[in-house]
């Protein structure tokens, strides 16, 4: 078993990993930038090592500095958390080469899912459904028009290197495509240094549903049901729940089996998540695989009773899974909301010092937070300051508990999206489970 774990991350997820390590008797090492000297994850770890100045490129993304910190402190394993270096095959490889156990899949499995074009091909070969689209980049605007006519409008025009919705646009006709192609290509070039574009069929009002999988190194794999993550703003998830109000038993089984096939196709070991788009007619399509722990993993934990970090550590230590598919529990319903340091009206980041923080308590309530009263929220990192999770025996009970908790959540000194979260969870559309990716525009901002 792992004896000393370095956590190559910060914020709530570093604290989350420390909690499980403490329970399992594993010593912890935190790393931190100059902006995080006073951060809670640094205070709570058994040891800590400074790795650089505030910008992530000079600290939390510094592979050498992190591997060196592990060497210095005698850590025998590294947990990458999510974001940052968690899906970086070079980092996983560097850990391996330094004789450290990387708590995650192999560098090869990470790389196989890292390229969108390659992942599509692998999934097609494994029999996992993918959205119809151009295979590889589209060479010219004329080729794009011809392809789009074959796929059928509406189509999504996407930048190959894109992210955060930049360089991405829905188009409904030849004329729109011709106009959009040049402008999005220019934008993608300016932002990402690559103007490579590709096309996918636009699925109207889809749901974003993902399957949590666990594979050990002995050929065993299970899926831990689904998470519904459709409510997003700017392609960032805001509300997540387990299970999905839309997915029925037949679909659950089909998606679970597809997710296991996806993992097996790349020799996946450890915890991972296969993301799908689900159509109104219950067709589903592979979107991507996240080769790490997800932000929203707590909803799965509350429904299954499993500690996913514990299983990540056990699997990384070579243990086989101690349970089979039929043993995976399904107890009630859990909903998570992400609390962002964000002005809810202007939707702009709101860094600053938290003068007062009061977390809600109560039956079925879990808080995974990065901050406390007096914490500084800097502009250098993700705006998420915490996650609030509510569990209940039914979706209605979980919703009631979450609403009560949101009402007593107090943050002073910075602006947060708490008012928006309250509106979402209290809305009729949410109660009715009308969770599609256009939820916010359609039911909350009434723009669509």
């Amino acid at each position: 078993m792992i004896r000393k774990l370095l956590i190559a991350n910060r914020g709530e997820i570093a604290r989350r990993v420390i909690r499980t390590c403490r329970r399992m008797g594993i010593a912890t090492v935190a790393v931190y930038s100059d902006a995080d000297v006073k951060a809670l994850h640094v205070q709570e770890a058994d040891e800590s090592v400074r790795i650089g100045p505030p910008p992530v490129a000079q600290s939390y993304l510094q592979i050498e500095a992190i591997v060196e910190a592990a060497r210095q402190t005698g850590a025998d394993a590294v947990h990458p958390g999510y974001g940052l270096l968690s899906e970086n095959a070079v980092f996983a490889k560097a850990c391996q080469e330094a004789g450290l156990v990387f708590v995650g899949p192999s560098p090869e499995a990470i790389a196989a899912m890292g390229s969108k074009v390659q992942a599509r091909e692998t999934m097609r070969a494994a029999g996992v459904p993918i959205v119809t689209g151009s295979d590889g980049p589209v060479p010219s605007v004329d080729a794009a028009v011809e392809l789009a006519q074959g796929i059928g409008y509406p189509v999504m025009l996407k930048a190959s290197a894109g992210g955060g919705g930049i360089g991405m646009q829905e188009v409904r006709s030849d004329e729109e495509l011709v106009r959009a192609f040049a402008s999005n290509q220019a934008r993608a070039k300016a932002y990402f240094g690559s103007g490579e574009m590709f096309l996918e069929k636009r699925i109207v009002s889809p749901r974003h549903v993902e399957i949590q999988v666990l594979f050990d190194g002995h050929g065993n794999g299970v899926f831990l049901w689904e998470r519904e993550c459709s409510i997003q703003r700017r392609h960032q998830k805001v509300v997540e729940e387990a299970l999905s109000p839309f997915v029925d038993e037949a679909l659950r089984t089909r998606m679970g089996e597809a997710a296991l096939a996806a993992g097996r196709a790349i020799g996946y070991v450890n915890a991972g998540t296969v993301e799908f788009l689900v159509d109104a007619d219950r067709s589903f399509y592979f979107l991507e695989m996240n080769t790490r722990l997800q932000v929203e993993h707590p909803v799965t934990e509350m429904v299954t009773g499993l500690d996913l970090v514990e299983w990540q550590l056990r699997i990384a230590s070579g243990e086989p899974l101690a349970f089979a598919q039929q043993d995976v529990r399904r107890d009630g319903h859990a909903i998570e909301v992400r609390v962002y340091a964000e002005d809810p009206e202007k939707m702009l980041p709101s860094p600053g010092t938290i003068s007062r923080l009061v977390l809600p308590e109560g039956e079925g309530i879990r808080n995974d937070v990065a901050v406390a009263s007096g914490s500084e929220v800097t502009p250098f990192y993700d705006p998420m300051i915490g996650k609030l999770i509510a569990h209940g025996s039914t979706r209605e009970e979980a919703t009631e508990r979450l609403l009560r908790a949101l009402a007593s959540y107090e943050v002073e000194g910075i602006k947060t999206n708490l008012p928006l979260l309250q509106r979402i969870i209290a809305s009729e559309a949410f109660a009715e489970g009308k969770t599609t990716t256009d939820f916010l525009d359609k039911y909350i901002f009434q723009k669509a």
Binding site: G164, A190, E342, L348, P349, P379, D382, P383
Partner: protein, 72 residues
């Protein structure tokens, strides 16, 4: 003369215009990054860019002047 100011604290990711350039109202002139979010700053005025204060990598506070525009 109009001053185009930072809408939030963060890092200057990109300056999209240069001194002497003619710009339109509502044109994006600078991209700021804060908390992993890229936020374009648009010019409120149309005219000629006279001074560019912002450089990529600079840290700015909300209200700092990014560039100056001679209206017209």
């Amino acid at each position: 003369m109009a001053k185009i100011m930072a809408t939030m604290a963060g890092t200057v990711l990109q300056v999209l215009v240069s001194e002497g350039e003619q710009i339109a109202a509502d044109q994006d002139v600078v991209i700021l990054e804060s908390m992993k979010m890229e936020v374009p700053v648009a010019s409120e005025a149309a005219g000629k860019v006279t001074v560019v204060h912002a450089n990529p990598g600079d840290f700015v506070n909300e209200g700092d002047t990014l560039l100056e525009v001679e209206e017209g």
